[in-house]
Symmetry: C2
Subunit: 254 residues, 2 copies
């Protein structure tokens, strides 16, 4: 058995964020698996087989990629952003744990990528400039009270908060509930960044405040960054204001 | 004035993690500024001026880069990892806020990079597989009690914790104190990943538990990942165990 599985982070949208390691892993693969829009972003090579799948099929997609690699193929399983951040790497580990013993002998590697919060942060300044957390608002895989407890803890302790998976058709109310929760602890003026489709041609980035943040401005392609009490705006000439969190932090936390 | 400042993330160590956007920004620069070992990693081009500086001079390094750009040069200020994560982007924003008005008119952009926690996570599996936080253990710029409060909050709420700047000659006791703090809330068996010099030829990655984690195994080049109560090991054949945090999380938090 000489198969191999690479779980490859494409970064968000823009090909200029695809690392040389990821490019090489895609080029070396005989078979590529992934959510169809991500797979469409991988450069084509003759002789490669492509296996696109739907958004919500992480488990079966990981199993198919593992089966194909275990059968001897060189497989790339592509992931948007970084595979380790709310993406395919954990799904692959779960399947290896639950799967046949041969999967535990497989040559499997993770290729990191730029995750959305880093790209969105870069667009506006340095909102993640001190301690921060990354939290998925999806309650498909964890109970909502766990999310509430984490929002409370992060805001009270002064972490900047990056919100992944803020909203979807099946989860319409969670982002509004999260904003309500955060308003208990954070000033109304706390900057909130909406980064939609970052790195793609239809990218939109907007900056508002916690008081006025509107959940209707987010969709499945949006990554939000909610500042801490110390996150601030710097007005500029001819440019959008910078959003940043000073490195010397802590005095404003409760 | 046609100067420009790009704050460029090199990623950790390995040139295979240097994005095409970062490569282009380095190639386009007339003048490069940065901590000397990072600057040494940028590919050389004839006619570029290099301005290396020491580790602890973020403020003056940012000011010099801004002054040079404001004088008309195309400047790259390089940063290890991602510039927005405990690196140069916030220092630049601080200087723009405090500096002359001309700096607010400057064309300034941030080029994101792979930050160390993503690279270390990729080496061992998917330890950041659910909600996580990134916390600097340096108390140079924030009081130690703020760090303690954040460690408490993160562990109690079930975040996986990535620790940046865990230890240095001037900060010898903080990592041991952090482990002690975390042992109050997390099981003795909680996996702890030590990722040293990730992506460099002298890289070492080791996995231990919170009970046995030894601060002496970390140095300035180490990034640590402390799991949540749900982070687990998957033994493998012929490979190191996988470390991962299941996506379906929350039941084990207190």
């Amino acid at each position: 058995m000489s198969g191999r599985l690479a779980v490859v982070g494409l970064g968000p949208g823009d090909a200029r964020w695809l690392t040389p390691e990821a490019q090489a892993a895609l080029a070396a693969a005989d078979a590529l698996f992934g959510y169809a829009p991500y797979l469409a972003r991988a450069p084509l090579r003759d002789g490669q087989r492509r296996h696109p799948s739907d958004n919500r099929e992480e488990g079966s997609r990981a199993r198919e990629a593992l089966e194909t690699a275990a059968a001897g193929a060189s497989v790339a399983l592509v992931s948007g952003g970084d595979p380790g951040v709310f993406a395919m790497a954990a799904a692959v580990c779960e399947q290896i744990e639950q799967g046949p013993p041969a999967w535990r002998a497989l040559d499997m590697g993770i290729v990191p990528g730029i995750t959305a919060m880093l790209a969105v942060a870069a667009r506006v300044g340095a909102p993640l400039g001190h301690d921060f957390c990354a939290l998925s608002l999806s309650d498909n895989l964890k109970p909502w009270p766990v999310i509430e407890r984490r929002l409370d803890a992060a805001a009270q302790a002064g972490f900047v908060i990056a919100l992944y998976n803020p909203i979807s058709q099946g989860r319409p109310w969670q982002l509004a509930a999260a904003f309500e929760r955060l308003r208990r602890y954070l000033p109304a003026t706390t900057p909130v960044v909406f980064g939609r489709a970052v790195g793609r041609p239809d990218e939109t980035i907007s900056v508002t405040t916690l008081a006025t943040a509107d959940p209707a401005d987010a969709d499945m392609a949006t990554l939000l960054i909610v500042g801490s009490a110390e996150t601030r705006l710097v007005p500029r000439l001819h440019h959008a204001p910078l959003v940043y969190t000073p490195r010397a932090a802590g005095s404003a936390t409760t």
